[in-house]
Amino acid sequence: MQSETVRAAIEIGGIVQGVGFRPFVYRLALRLGLSGWVRNTGQGVEIEVEGEALQLDEFRRAVRDEAPPLAVICQLRAQPVPATGGKGFAILESARSAAGGEVSPDCDVCDDCLAELFDPDNRRYGYPFINCTNCGPRYSIITGIPYDRPATTMAGFAMCDDCLAEYHDPGNRRFHAQPNACPVCGPCLTLMEPSGAKVSGDALKRTLEALSQGKIVAVKGVGGYHLAVDATNQAALERLRQRKRRDEKPFAMLAADLGAVSRHAHCSELEGRLLLGVERPIVLMRKLAGTSINELVAPGNGWFGFMLPGNPLQHLLARGFDAPLVMTSCNLSDEPIAYRDAEALEMLSGIADLFLTHHREIHTRTDDSVLRLYRGEPLFLRRSRGYVPRAVQLPTEQPSVLAVGGELKATLCLTRGDRAFMSQHIGDLKNAATLASLEQSASDLQRLLEITPALVAHDLHPDYLSTGYAAALGLPAVAVQHHHAHMASCMAENGLEGDVIGVILDGTGYGADGTIWGGEFLVGGYRAFQRRGHFAQMRMPGGDAAVKEPYRMALSALYSLHGDRLFDQPLPVVSEVALADRPLFLKMLEKGINSPLTSSCGRLFDAVSALIGVRRRISYEGQAAIELEALAEQGGEVEPYPYRVLEEWGQVLDFAPAVAAICADLAGGRSRADIARAFHRTVARGVLEVCRRLKQETGYVRVVLSGGVFQNRLLTEEVADLLADEGFQVYCHRLVPPNDGGLALGQAAIAGAMQARG
């Protein structure tokens, strides 16, 4: 049936920028054979499409129904305009971004390239570096601007005649595809022994054989090296765990397709769409009972992290292997992910049996992104490869700021006008290589995005290495309190202005009064805040040691209840402490020796986790709370424990009564899952109670939830639901992580607001 050619102008409002909306529209238009263009505007996205009327109807439906998961469409207005007869579909520069460029994130293979990859008659059949203008590596290989082949790590590869012809042909999908390559002229795979000796034969085939024999293979990906191993092979996993020094961090897995994922995890429709997105993140999904995935992949954890192939090599590996493959970042303890060949070989020679590598250099290291769903919404745990450096829309224009983030999950943020560019996950700055990479990323991003910051924003903590870095830049510096930054981060990505209530449940951050904060009720906006309430303070015996050894927090909580009779309590956590060490622990708590006071919510979760015997020492950040949440998931419908709210100079939310009740329950033999569940519920109730009081005091009904504890799905849902039921407007993170990975955005918004209106 032939229908007439029509053209429509479509305006879409909502969260449609920085979520991959324009590439999505581009692909959709191509799929439906429509011509036209798409561009960002001040209000959202503007599209003109032209083609057959039926296809246009289909386009309007699909724009809503198949939109990228991170997008929120609030309004869609379409009106007919005269057809122009133009050909092709283009992504136009938005008028506003003329002041500076943007850099595309790395992207999975497009459908066209994927078809070629598996077409035996295609000249790029099985070629792991296939790409076109619609897909392939970008941010990780770009070394400078303008984005041209010489300014990428493909500079050293001269195109063959066939590739050059494609590159110069405006009708070709590879017209000006900067990383264009083929087996004749481009990079190729090499399989190596740790000695550097080349393994003969077909590198991919040999790799797949080695994997099926339980070997550990370091695989060079887009943003760095992964360690690949058969996720169903117990012996191989034991070897990997042992070589990575007993690390218990869950491993992510690569599965060939959605069907394979669904055999091992509960994968909802939305989780499927997240997995299938061009960003190819790791998505955490609930484990399925009776899966063939070995327990060692994610011990003590109710969730599996899966990703689908995100580059041609991963497509080839996943299709060639019949079980999911562990694909975990290649690094040692706190080292950043390996991305340079020589360094990977050196760092991993005791870990990997083989190295599958190639000589297309990675310029910018980017870890995999990690998301999970809560209340049917995506939540970033780590925003990195695939999403970076997409801009986040700020509520207003502001002076250009460089924000340097926190310390443990450092990210950077650079702003231009009303756009905020968040960097990839940089990592734990205490590590020397990570700190160097912070400095490198800061200068790279400034150069690539053509932003010269007018000021720098950093954390208030005097000893954060990022603070030292900021001070050395010689720019006007703004020190931002940690939890104020968390609050502003959530406000900024939700486009909020004015004053709100901020519920910041976090690990530890340096407080404005020199104590350690982390369970905070703030009231205010970007320019200023008041601390109107907090969790009751506890000592952190041993400072950072209390973070790595949650049993210390349990002792601290018990000390608050029982004083020096703490070791008389008939609790397992108490008997863990050697008799000889007990007097020293008591003195430490009594005198506060290296035991700073903290109002941290994360430390309270640690205390309870250790108290009920879930986790007394951790091998990765947040483990005690993560496993407590997993246990609570198995709990029944339970009543909350008692707590109290003391009114001092602000609201002090004290869970000591809950801790006492938990001890009694432990003695009474109550199910630990129910205890864990009841504890989660108690914290949620307490938060609601304080918010109620703050609403009475201020009249504010907008509450933003931020801080690392809001990675806890169970708690987040309980808190958000309780607040919403009482008429609060609840705002959560959706574009940046609630943990310190999102801190830089808040710092930037605060510094910008202080400067602009200061």
Binding site: R245, L332, S333, D334, E335, G406, E407, L408, K409, L429, K430, N431, A432, A433, L435, H461, P462, D463, Y464, L465, G468, H482, D506, G507, T508, G509, Y510, D513, G514, I516, M540, P541, G542, G543, D544, A545, A546, V547, K548, D581, P583, L584, F585, K587, M588, K591, I593, N594, P596, T598, G602, E621, G708, N739, D740
Partner: protein
């Protein structure tokens, strides 16, 4: 926090101390020949080369296992002279006493000062005593100044570290700080941890024959080995790489530190020195130290790896490399 006030951290020997010195004290004391960032000033008086230094002692408690404020005041100043490669000659002493302080305690302190001076071979040649009203001081504060003779042409100082140098320490680190902490807080630990308070001039005299190969000597007192090495790295413009596994630490100190969550790298010493020695003479330097009673546990703990803006990094026991920085004041939790 109030930026207008002096904080305890300004006396910690860390970042805040350096700030106070660089931003307030040194600029306003211009014209005074400063010691730079070294332990003592070098003077040339009528062709005679001298080292001159001063230090005040306010330690609490004044008596602790392994010593007291008196021998500390002698050893500290002797060591500051020795770290310039000078031979300590004589000291002055100033006492600030609080009304009500026990004469018997003062006698003990003065006696041990005498003994320490004898052991170091220096004379206490001049002094001063003041008494302040009750509550205006804390029992006893002592200041000592010292003069030493520089009898060689070596330029031993914090700016002389070279790429390749080995970093040698003459024994276990952290004893003094933990001994004082235990005494102050009444920790009642029977681990036998004693202050390492000792005069290092004898040991330095044996190292001097290394000549040009001896680049830096520094005593890691307040702020510990971490802070002192960072100062050297900054002064010399180099990167120092430590190896965590090679750090000599008494088991008792290690145990207490691990329970208290303290990093021994930042804990004070009073009888330790760091020597940065050219690699070809490092073994010899180590042997010299190990023959000396104050160097039995000497160890190479790191090396200077490259020129830089001044970094200290440490290869950790699990194989990572972490940066080592000066702290602003106390060790504060940093993990979020």
């Amino acid at each position: 926090m109030n930026d207008d006030l002096i904080l305890l951290g300004h006396g910690s020997g860390g970042k805040l101390s350096h700030q106070l010195l660089d931003e307030l004290i040194i600029p306003n004391l211009s014209g005074v020949p400063a010691a730079g960032q070294n332990d003592a000033a070098l003077l040339n008086i009528g062709g005679v080369k001298l080292a001159f230094t001063t230090d005040s002692y306010v330690v609490d408690p004044i008596f602790f296992p392994g010593g007291n404020i008196g021998d500390l005041a002698v050893n500290g100043t002797v060591n500051d002279l020795a770290m310039m490669g000078a031979r300590p000659l004589c000291l002055s002493v100033g006492f600030i006493l609080e009304e009500g302080f026990l004469k018997s305690e003062l006698a003990r302190i003065v006696t041990s000062m005498r003994e320490a001076a004898d052991a170091a071979g220096v004379a206490i040649v001049t002094g001063d005593t003041k008494v302040v009203p009750r509550g205006k001081g804390d029992r006893i504060f002592i200041n000592t100044s010292g003069i030493g003779a520089l009898e060689h042409n070596l330029a031993i100082n914090g700016a002389a570290a070279c790429v390749g140098d080995k970093v040698i320490v003459n024994g276990c680190i952290g004893d003094h700080g933990i001994a004082v902490l235990s005494a102050r807080e009444g920790l009642e630990i029977d681990s036998g941890i004693k202050s390492d308070s000792a005069p290092l001039n004898g040991l330095v005299a044996e190292l001097l024959p290394l000549g040009e190969a001896l680049h830096v000597l520094r005593d890691p007192t307040r702020g510990g080995v971490a802070t002192t090495l960072k100062e050297i790295a900054l002064q010399s413009g180099v990167t120092v790489k430590l190896s965590e596994e090679s750090l000599p630490i008494n088991p008792g100190v290690r145990g207490v530190c691990s329970i208290l969550g303290l990093d021994p790298l930042y804990v004070a010493n009073e009888g330790k020195l760091l020597a940065l020695v050219a690699p070809e003479r490092a073994e010899e330097a180590l042997a010299i130290m190990r023959r000396h009673p104050l160097g039995k546990d000497a160890a190479v703990i790191g090396e200077v790896t490259e020129a830089s803006a001044g970094r200290v990094v440490m290869e950790t026991a699990v194989g990572g490399v972490r940066g080592v920085e000066m702290l602003a004041g106390e060790q504060l939790p940093r993990i979020c």
